[in-house]
Subunit: 409 residues, 2 copies
């Protein structure tokens, strides 16, 4: 069902010097599919991350926050799908720590250098012994070119594995950036989305890496929404193995910093858009672009009001040009001093709303034709300032209900 999202090919995913991957079927998901993923990082790897703002942050998120202090060295990530280890209290924290300790013993590092992640059903105890049982085999199977299988192992209701690679020249040195993500529902990241891991061999100072992660999250994962629901487990981590030979990057605003930022933003954008393209039940991929706002926050409020409206999303599913719903969603955003007569709106190149009302040149036939596409751009011009933003989302179909009514059964 994913919208224009072919699965990545293994040969398009470049290994990152210093990163090895493995995965296994631990039986946490019922299907017998691979559901545990281990990523080992070479000594010296630095990491930074952003995590969910949901008040019920899952146990692994709480552990990651403790382990990922500025400049932390990270030696491994352990991820399970099928169980979120959230709402699990002290036992959940203990289970996440056991994962770290067991992995640390196997790859010879400190438990503090291991980051645990979980995704799946909330409010059920994590059967951590099943993860422990497969870890030795995972360590034995670690290889640098297993990104595709790793991306598959972290999927829950995803229909397509999500992984992207890019290379960039920094001070004459080729630097690799490869990332993976998972997530198709409970998606309105308030910080980062579900699980996304991006690795690079770039050399970058810890404070600069932290700033890079926040900047990239704001530009990419924080601009996706599937259903307006914010996961308890959202995590986005960038790993920099420091193995490339260019001089260390200390400043994101330097040419080298800008190059790395652009490359990682590119990878993260593709991953973030993949999440909307594979949104639960999606048949259409929609970019909601709001221009002419007083500030970026206001632009985002209008864009998310449209992107999260069930009525807008069902109308796009049906290709029914019931476009008054767009007007309702703009008005609902609650902008102060809002002037409806200043609003123009386009679907692709088609002017739909002009001066707050239906454009004279608009016809239903044109509206239906514009909505029939599986790739849609909704452009809102508020006419009250110079700020703009864009949000990526998908439509709302029978299958969204079906998938979520039957998820656990």
């Amino acid at each position: 069902m994913a919208v224009n999202l072919p699965p990545p090919r293994a040969e398009d995913l470049f290994p990152v010097p210093g990163i090895d991957l493995a995965f296994a079927a631990a039986g946490i998901r019922k299907s017998g599919r691979d559901d545990v993923m281990l990523m080992r990082c070479a000594p010296g790897t630095r990491a930074a991350g952003v995590f969910t703002r949901n008040g019920f942050a899952a146990a692994p998120v709480q552990i990651c926050r403790q382990h990922l202090l500025a400049g932390s060295s990270v030696r491994a990530l352990v991820v399970n799908a099928g169980n979120a280890n959230c709402g699990t209290g002290e036992a959940g924290l203990a289970a996440a720590l056991v994962t770290c300790e067991r992995t640390a013993a196997l790859i010879d590092c400190s438990p503090r250098e291991v980051l645990p992640f979980s995704t799946g059903v909330i409010l059920e105890p994590l059967p951590v012994e099943r993860i422990e049982r497969v870890l030795p085999a995972c360590v034995a199977a670690l290889e640098p070119d297993r990104w595709l299988g790793a991306a598959q192992a972290i999927m829950t209701t995803d229909t397509v594995p999500k992984a992207v690679s890019r290379r960039v020249q920094i001070d004459g040195t080729a630097v690799t950036v490869t990332g993976m993500a998972k997530g198709v529902g409970m998606i309105e990241p308030d910080m980062a989305t579900m699980l996304a891991f991006v690795a690079t061999d770039a050399r970058i100072a810890p404070a600069c890496l932290s700033r890079l992660v926040k900047t990239v999250a704001d530009r990419t994962f924080n601009r996706v929404t599937v259903d307006g629901d914010t996961s308890t487990n959202d995590s986005f981590v960038v790993l920099a193995t420091q193995q490339a030979l260019h001089p260390e990057i200390h400043d994101l605003d330097s040419p080298a910093g800008g190059q790395l930022l652009a490359c990682i933003t590119d990878v993260a954008t593709r991953l973030a858009q993949s999440i909307a393209r594979d949104g639960e039940g999606a048949t259409k991929f929609m970019t909601v672009q709001v221009e002419g706002a007083r500030d970026p926050d206001e632009a985002a409020r209008v864009a998310k009001s449209i992107a999260n409206s069930p009525l807008v999303k069902t109308a796009f599913f049906a290709s029914d040009p019931n476009l008054g719903r767009l007007l309702m969603a703009i008005g609902k955003a609650g902008l102060s001093g809002f002037d409806p007569t200043a609003v123009n709106l386009y679907i692709g190149d088609l002017l739909v709303i002009s001066g707050g009302g239906r454009a004279a040149s608009y016809t239903e036939e044109k509206g239906a034709a514009a909505m029939a596409s599986s790739e849609l751009l909704i452009r809102v011009l508020l006419g009250r300032g110079a700020a703009a933003t864009a949000v990526w989302t998908c439509d709302f179909s029978y299958d969204y209900v079906k998938i979520n009514a039957e998820y656990r059964t």
Copy 2:
């Protein structure tokens, strides 16, 4: 599909002295059904109302705001279904005014004493000449006992007409309160919901009536949500014909004021709950009650975060006890200084979440049994204060998507 919502019986709807009703099929809705309703009020009737906060307030809402100043006399309401007269610019305002003028000429009052209302598709011109054409016949057909037909005439995708009557003794005089409402989608009133009209023969001073309307709206219509979308046309108006013989009410806190407030709140509560019971595609009626909040606003934020979560609503549709989604929705509300371990949650009498985690006594079988009911109470105890509120909503089914994907076709 409405949940435990039998249609009202005509004999249960008491005429209100001073109120006459009529309706007709004007051909604004495609079905040939009655779609225009006229309510005539006796001279001396006072009215107060609350209206949508949506920035794209419809033309009739803008006219109502001008006509309904404090202490305004109101002589007629004209309502059409099938077209919202919203996003229609100057032509829309002119159409709403034509309705007022034409009605005023027919019943011999000032156009300012007529309130126009529209509900239906947004962004399409209102064919006001079709309303004009049926108004003379409506005036000729006015009768005091036509509440049921009137409630039917204002329906859009409603499956059941919504009307309720009560009587109350005030200072030894029997006072009647009868109301009607419509609305099943685009429902998260930010002030009042869709269209609701309540009439009484009570004698009440203008300022007191205004306060009564705001108080009742906050306790009733502002606590319903179907899909989190706020209509451009929400309107709630109380008409007091002043024909009862008790002394005029000047103070809502007096015994007589309290009696009238309680009776109108009762009628409005039934109407508001009817909207959730007849929510588009609804199979379950859910009351989300949040207690132990620091203030009512915080309680409402948590209650609406649960009531509007597509993941919670689809899980209830499926009777799948995927109750971690409730925890996600509570955490997503973004309370400051939130302590997850203080949270307890019940479905009916079943303790599901205790101290922020799954209750030891909880089992999936018990959860599934509790969710199978068509009438559900979700009780959240936040453990951080004494404020409480309740919100009414419905589940989210295939039919919500079907209804909204096919609404206009």
